[in-house]
Symmetry: C2
Subunit: 181 residues, 2 copies
């Protein structure tokens, strides 16, 4: 299903619930993918996301140098691939080829988007002030695309120990909101 | 059920999946509670958690000045209280009294723990370098307590628009992990 643009100031809809994401990057002719669970929304507009990318990852230097990446949102059907991507290194493995993923051309950044994922958030490095001390990258989402169906996909939430949880029921508590945001 | 100590370097088990949390604080004789969804684990040991606490909240100055807070983990049965706490201000409301919550004495910090929550993570401000620019507080968890049952409680994940999702199935993918962390 063809992805549709998603409002940049509402990226939180997808990332605030805490799903594991796949970060794709590109540097000097090489693409890579890593699995990441340590991220948070920081601002609606500009659309800022903070990601702790451990310096031990091949992606760390590539993203730092290129100043770009894509945050891809896998659904629960991709659990095996997500786990495997997080347990091998791009130094030995072409992860797109190995895991049968499609590198789609992104619109605003050189890093490829992963076609199979439910959503793609193209990012530019916005502030690297915390990279040295905490490996914490602050990105601005500059383009966002989401599959229109399913509206509420199952995503993956990591708990350590090789165990993920998926999403459960929706609870609408709008009645208590004075200002819905 | 009496809470048990939880390893500080495994706080990620509870916070990495992205649940909404209640932040309790104490400053100059007054306690307060706020609802927060913008947080991420930053390090196993020391046990670091980054929280974006908007400067518009009463809690912002109190936490900044006291340098302490407790991150409390509500389960899905508390959805109404969580939503209501996020939609009123401590300037007008004693939130413990109004919402029938019990302020339990914490072990390491002056901020009270919320007895009804599934887990309590007592925090000290570890680094305020990003508070001015991003309202981003880096806390060290200095004490952690968790109810031993249920082992996999339903928590709440916010998606905006007054809608939460709860947790669903567990997916064990340990078989793909080269090193379980």
């Amino acid at each position: 299903m063809k992805k549709q643009p998603w409002p940049l100031d509402d990226v939180r809809h997808w990332l605030e619930p805490g799903p594991v994401v796949l970060i794709s990057s590109y540097w000097q002719g090489k693409s890579n993918i890593m699995t990441l669970g340590w991220h948070t929304i920081l601002e609606f507009s500009p659309s800022l996301v903070g990601c702790m990318i451990s310096a031990g990852n091949l992606s760390f230097e590539r993203i730092r140098r290129s100043g770009e990446c894509v945050i891809n949102l896998p659904d629960a059907s991709m659990a095996d691939v997500v786990a495997q991507i997080g347990n091998c290194s791009g130094a030995q493995t072409d992860k797109f080829a190995t895991f049968g993923l499609t590198a789609e051309k992104s619109h605003q950044v050189s890093a490829p988007s992963i076609a199979e994922c439910h959503a793609n958030f193209e990012c530019r490095l916005y502030d690297d002030a915390m990279v040295e001390r905490y490996n914490f990258f602050i990105f601005e989402v500059v383009a966002a695309r989401v599959k229109p169906q399913p509206v509420w996909p199952q995503t993956l939430h990591y708990t350590g120990g090789g165990v993920f949880r998926t999403d459960g029921d929706r609870l609408d508590r709008q009645k208590w909101f004075t200002r819905v945001s």
